[in-house]
């Protein structure tokens, strides 16, 4: 009985997490499209939450985004994921620009998730993203990108098999100085809060 109750209590978070992952998949694809890493022909126009978005045509690209975001789902549900970041590196693997989705899932939220409210809030991201291009930096040639998630705490190894799937990047190059933050969009619709902001190297950052 107790367990059942808990499950019920977690239901709104589960629902919110599911919507969030779906949204992240779309939003990340949009960022990739926006940054022009791939030719525009690699994307097709689709409609999501009644907004025009782009979807990757290449199955590998699509699969990478899909699997990496969906792999996060159980951790998002548990409230472990703090940030999901799309990082663009230059050809020397030095980060140039980071799109940060800061996720805040209220685990103690008890009532039902209003899916429409949540989607309405998330849609504003998809509208704001294309017009924020001016805030971003032009990418040099030969750059690459990746999706990285930052956890609040590492999941306990014993709790699930999922944790074995976590890859922790090593020998990554980091900025020496605190980055410059440019907020793009924030939303808060219980139980979920998402903020998207850009991180750029500080002006005083030593050039590589």
């Amino acid at each position: 009985m107790e367990r059942k109750d808990n499950n019920q209590a977690k239901a709104p978070q589960g629902e919110a997490a599911r919507i969030l992952t779906e949204f992240l998949e779309v939003a990340i694809t949009c960022i990739i499209f926006l940054k022009g890493v791939y030719p525009h022909g690699a994307f097709e126009r689709r409609r999501y939450m009644n907004v025009v978005v782009h979807r990757a045509r290449h199955p590998q690209l699509r699969d990478y985004i899909h699997s990496s975001v969906n792999g996060l789902l159980p951790f998002i549900q548990k409230g472990l994921v703090e940030r999901v970041v799309v990082i663009f590196f230059d050809n020397e693997d030095f980060p140039i620009e980071r799109f940060v989705f800061k996720v805040n899932l209220n685990l103690s939220y008890g009532s039902k998730v209003e899916q429409s409210d949540l989607e309405f809030s998330l849609r504003s991201f998809l509208i704001k993203l294309p017009v924020s291009e001016s805030l971003t930096k032009l990418l040099p040639r030969g750059c690459r990108w990746e999706i990285t998630a930052y956890f609040r705490a590492l999941p306990e190894a014993s709790t699930s098999k999922d944790s074995e799937l976590i890859w922790i990047p090593t020998d990554t190059k980091q900025w020496q100085q605190p980055p410059l933050i440019t907020p793009i969009k924030s939303m808060n619709s219980e139980p979920l809060g998402v903020q998207l902001y850009l991180e750029h190297p500080s002006l005083s950052e030593p050039k590589p």
């Binding site: 800061k102 980055p179 907020p183």
Partner: protein, 980 residues
């Protein structure tokens, strides 16, 4: 008879009739008695007469119809004391129990309250009832016309049915009345009454016997009180408190006598007597009925024919039949059919327990009470020659005084004395000299040792340990390893008869509470809330009764397991999950309201369906004496000190202020405040007004005390002090006292009256403020009046003339009214008066500089009001813009509107400070969740800087703060920069 609550029924009804009264019965009816009487007692009319004469309900058994008495001779008879379990009934129960069980089940279900035996018997005779009606119809018809006065006589002559009022029974003796008057479904009372022309119980009687009608929380409004009234465990529990009150002085006495008794005890061979009354709960009840002495008797709270009530105590004859405490009545009756079930008699218990302890205290002043019927006495110091003789004397005296027997065990330690009593029982005496301890212990089952319960016994059994002898073979170390240090130690010691405990003083109770886990059924949360309230009242009463207050409040809930059905025990709790939550308060309390608030809160945590609740308990622990509490409060609370200390006026601070000013730095730091509304008012009630405090005195207080006082003033004190200093430093020509204490009310009495009229309809509180306003008038200093030009208007010429602190305390709607009627700045020239302006600024500053982070609290946020009342036009404008902005609550939208305002005038340092504080609090509020909004705001502010010097100052003031906040939360800097 009617006068005594009896009723006469025209028609036979199983529900309303309790007794059938007649002097003769035709043979046919005798033969078919059960179908005639429906299992009810058939009694001679003299029973009614004599009951009335005795002014109490006599047992009907001696008055049974002779014909019947001979008929039922084979049944065991009860003495006069046994109120209800009459032979007829017994007979019925026994004969029916087999066949009519399904029916009875239905009957109970239908009437949600517990049906007592009588009804039960009747309910089972459904088929017979109709017949019964036809039989009894004829003689009853004429009765309808009889007047009430004649009824008693009439019923003596006729076959009629009488129900005696329960009230009579209550007078006559404790508790058992419930079984005499049948339980009625309260709702059906009146309907039935009409249908059957039955003389009902008077409604007054119903209130007296709620416990009989409602046996669950559903049907009984006074369930909680009655529950405890009839609970044996509650009696035992509260007895302790009673004992403490009664014997505490003597208990203290022996302490004083033997300051070095510990040393004594070790050097001398101790002699301890354990005295225990024999089956206390039964023997007290039957002590005056010698005929029951040798019969099996058990005490139980109810003699329901379902037999699911548990026996709480049985006497030795009953125990010989295998009847044990905790057994269901039906099982007990199966073992011992002639078992007599009696109800509790709490008054008698109390009486006997008191006598018991009186005797013990008389003989020896070292008494340790264990329970109401069990105690240890330490006779070591009495140097009794022969402890056996001594104990015998005590036992004899107990027997003579109380009529009940007691057993005693004598030994060198409390443990062995208890073991001895066990052997001595019943009604015996046993002396275990120290040399024989081993023999006694060797074969003693481990279960008999105190401190060994089911769990420990099971564990020991698994290790093949059944007796103390076997236990003794195990080393202390391995015992400690297996059972923990303390338990292991205890086992090792006890198995050797070593018991270092001393016969000590009475132990103070550690917690006081009330638990109900029987008869708890709720339909919805409101039921539960009512119930909790009653529980709170009960606990509060108990605390008050003990003169204690509790700091920790624990709420325990028994929640029906999802798979558990209706419990076997009627209205019992069944298989339950036990949930518990507790909270510790900063201050001990015995206040019902506090309890209620806390329990409601605690209950909220459970998220439980009210229908699943089977029991609830409320406990107060961390007890403190109410007296000490009070004293401590007086002593340690700075409040009392503050109040008693002379509230000197601040004239002294004036001189000091000048030199102190240099320490505080720029006026930005001075955030004086009379914070808004309620908080301030609340403090006024108990604390001296801020302005009554002497800044000089306060400043010389040690920091801890200062912070405490500051807390009392909701953090306003510090700011008050700094503000005070600031003001003193300034060239304020106004008298300080006046500036602070005298509200700046316009010298226009008419206005005040005007307002007062408006207010008249609102609450008293408001009137107080107005009174204050009016009182302030005569004191308004000449300087202010002189400054004001003559005006014909009823309204003050400017908003700034109104004492803002008074305005703040007005209720919202009223405030809006007043403000509307006030022209914002009717006479700008008036404002040019420097002195006055300075003064106003002090006042507004006091409001605007809220030190705590509550500017954004409320809807609209508090700052809107503050700004609206401000003397600064810009701030006023911002407050207005807030109401225009959309979406509401976002400061960026306000800033956006400011962008379109033209011209932007400067508001001076105060406005800058206000805006800075506002922004800072806004950043704090939004930084976690909405960095975008913060970013937008700062971008807008930045654009505003080009338009106004003021916003440049604000911008540059908040940017460092903003960057720090962003850095803290996001690990970076916001992409904005300073403007030179």
């Amino acid at each position: 008879m009617l006068k005594y609550g009896g009723r006469f029924e025209n028609y036979f009804s199983r529900h309303h009739v309790t007794h059938i009264i007649c002097s003769n019965l035709p043979d046919s009816k005798i033969k078919n008695l059960r179908s005639f009487s429906g299992g009810l007692p058939v009694v001679k009319p003299t029973w009614v007469l004599e009951s009335v004469a005795a002014n109490k309900l006599l047992s009907w058994i001696p008055y049974q119809l002779d014909q019947l008495a001979s008929e039922t001779k084979k049944q065991p008879k009860l003495s006069a004391f046994g109120f209800k379990s009459g032979p007829v009934l017994d007979d019925l129960e026994e004969s029916i129990s087999g066949q009519a069980v399904p029916q009875s089940g239905i009957a109970t279900l239908r009437t949600s309250c517990s049906l007592e035996a009588n009804i039960f018997g009747k309910a089972e005779c459904t088929e017979e009832v109709e017949e019964c009606h036809s039989v009894s119809d004829d003689p009853f018809h004429p009765n309808a016309a009889e007047s009430a006065d004649q009824a008693p006589t009439y019923c003596m002559e006729n076959h009629c049915e009488v129900e005696l009022d329960a009230a009579v029974v209550v007078q006559s003796d404790a508790g058992y009345h419930s079984h005499i008057s049948p339980c009625q479904d309260p709702k059906s009372d009146h309907n039935d009454c009409l249908e059957d022309h039955i003389i009902e119980e008077s409604s007054s009687s119903k209130t007296i016997r709620p416990s009989t009608t409602g046996h669950s929380t559903l049907s009984d409004a006074n369930f909680v009180e009655n529950y405890f009234k009839f609970s044996r465990l509650h009696f035992i529990g509260t007895w302790r408190n009673r004992y403490r009150k009664r014997f505490l002085s003597s208990a203290n006495g022996f302490k004083d006598m033997n300051p070095s008794r510990n040393a004594f005890a070790t050097s001398q061979k101790t002699t301890i007597i354990h005295v225990d009354m024999d089956c206390f709960f039964v023997s007290v009840v039957i002590r005056k009925h010698s005929d029951l002495k040798d019969k099996p008797v058990a005490v139980c709270h109810s003699d329901n024919s379902r037999g699911t009530a548990e026996i709480s105590s049985a006497n030795y004859p009953a125990r010989n039949h295998g009847v044990k405490a905790g057994m269901f009545i039906r099982d007990a009756k199966a073992l011992c059919p002639q078992l007599v079930i009696l109800p509790y008699n709490f008054d008698a218990y109390e009486e006997v327990a008191d006598q018991f302890y009186d005797i013990l205290h008389k003989h020896c002043n070292k008494v340790q009470a264990v329970s109401c019927d069990e105690a240890f006495i330490d006779v070591t110091d009495l140097r009794v020659e022969d402890p056996e003789l001594f104990a015998r004397a005590i036992r004899t005296e107990i027997h003579e005084t109380t009529g009940c027997t007691a057993s005693a065990g004598i030994a060198g330690s409390m443990l062995m004395a208890r073991v001895a009593t066990r052997i001595a029982k019943p009604d015996g005496l046993c002396y275990i000299p120290s040399e024989k301890v081993d023999d006694y212990l060797h074969e003693l089952p481990v279960k008999a040792l105190p401190g060994i319960g089911h769990v420990l016994e099971e564990k020991l059994k698994k290790k093949q340990i059944n007796t103390c002898g076997q236990l003794r073979l195990i080393s202390k170390e391995s015992l400690q390893k297996d059972f923990g240090v303390k338990t292991g130690d205890m086992l090792w010691n006890f198995s050797r008869g070593i018991d270092n405990r001393l016969v000590g003083v009475f132990q103070e109770s550690k917690s006081i509470g009330a638990d109900v886990n029987w008869g708890v059924r709720f339909n919805d949360l409101n039921d539960m809330k009512d119930f909790l309230l009653k529980l709170c009242k009960e606990v509060s009463l108990r605390l008050q009764g003990c003169g204690l207050k509790g700091r920790t409040i624990t709420l325990k809930i028994k929640k029906r397991r999802s798979d558990a059905g209706e419990p076997v025990k009627y209205m019992g709790c069944g298989d339950c999950e036990n949930l518990s939550r507790s909270v510790t308060l900063p201050m001990a309390t015995d206040d019902v309201d506090v309890f209620q608030r806390i329990t409601a809160q605690l209950f909220g945590y459970f998220h439980i369906d009210a229908r699943d609740i089977r029991g609830a308990g409320l406990q107060a622990s961390k007890l403190e004496s109410a007296d000490r509490n009070m004293r401590g409060h007086e002593k340690y609370s700075i409040r009392s000190w503050l109040v008693s200390s002379p509230a000197r006026k601040s004239s002294m601070a004036k001189g000091k202020g000048d030199q102190l000013y240099s320490d505080i730095g720029p006026p930005v730091q001075a955030r004086g405040s009379f914070s808004g509304g309620e908080a301030y008012v609340a403090h006024r009630a108990t604390l001296p007004a801020l302005h009554d405090l002497d800044v000089g005195v306060i400043e010389s207080l040690p920091p801890e005390v200062l912070s405490e006082i500051n807390d009392l003033y909701a953090g306003e004190l510090i700011s008050f002090i700094s503000k005070k200093k600031e003001k003193n430093a300034g060239n304020n020509v106004m008298d300080e006292e006046q500036s602070l204490s005298n509200p700046l009310v316009p010298p226009n009495k008419d206005f005040v009256h005007n307002v007062a009229e408006k207010i008249k309809s609102s609450e008293k509180e408001d009137e107080q403020y107005i009174n204050k306003m009016i009182q302030g008038l005569p004191e308004t200093s000449g300087s202010v009046t002189a400054l004001l030009p003559e005006t014909d208007s009823l309204m003050p010429s400017s908003l700034s003339q109104v004492d803002s602190s008074v305005l703040q305390q007005l209720p919202e709607e009223l405030l809006a009214d007043v403000l509307e009627s006030l022209p914002a700045h009717r006479r700008p020239d008036f404002m040019s008066n420097d002195v006055y302006l300075d003064h106003i600024r002090d006042q507004t500053g006091a409001i605007d500089f809220l030190p705590s982070n509550n500017l954004w609290v409320g809807n609209p946020p508090r700052w809107v009001d503050n700004f609206r009342l401000s003397s600064c036009q810009l701030l006023n404008r911002i407050a207005v813009l807030y109401n225009k902005s959309s979406p509401r609550g976002q400061f960026s939208s306000v800033l956006q509107l400011i962008m379109s305002e033209y011209p932007l005038d400067d508001g001076g340092d105060d406005a800058v400070n206000c805006l800075c504080e506002l922004m800072k609090q806004y950043i704090k509020l939004k930084i976690e969740t909405d960095v975008e909004e913060i970013y937008t705001c700062s971008c807008l502010l930045r654009r505003l800087t080009s338009r106004s010097e003021l916003f440049l100052q604000v911008y540059n003031c908040i940017i460092p703060h903003l960057q720090a906040a962003v850095g803290e939360t996001y690990g970076g800097d916001l992409n904005i920069c300073f403007i030179e």
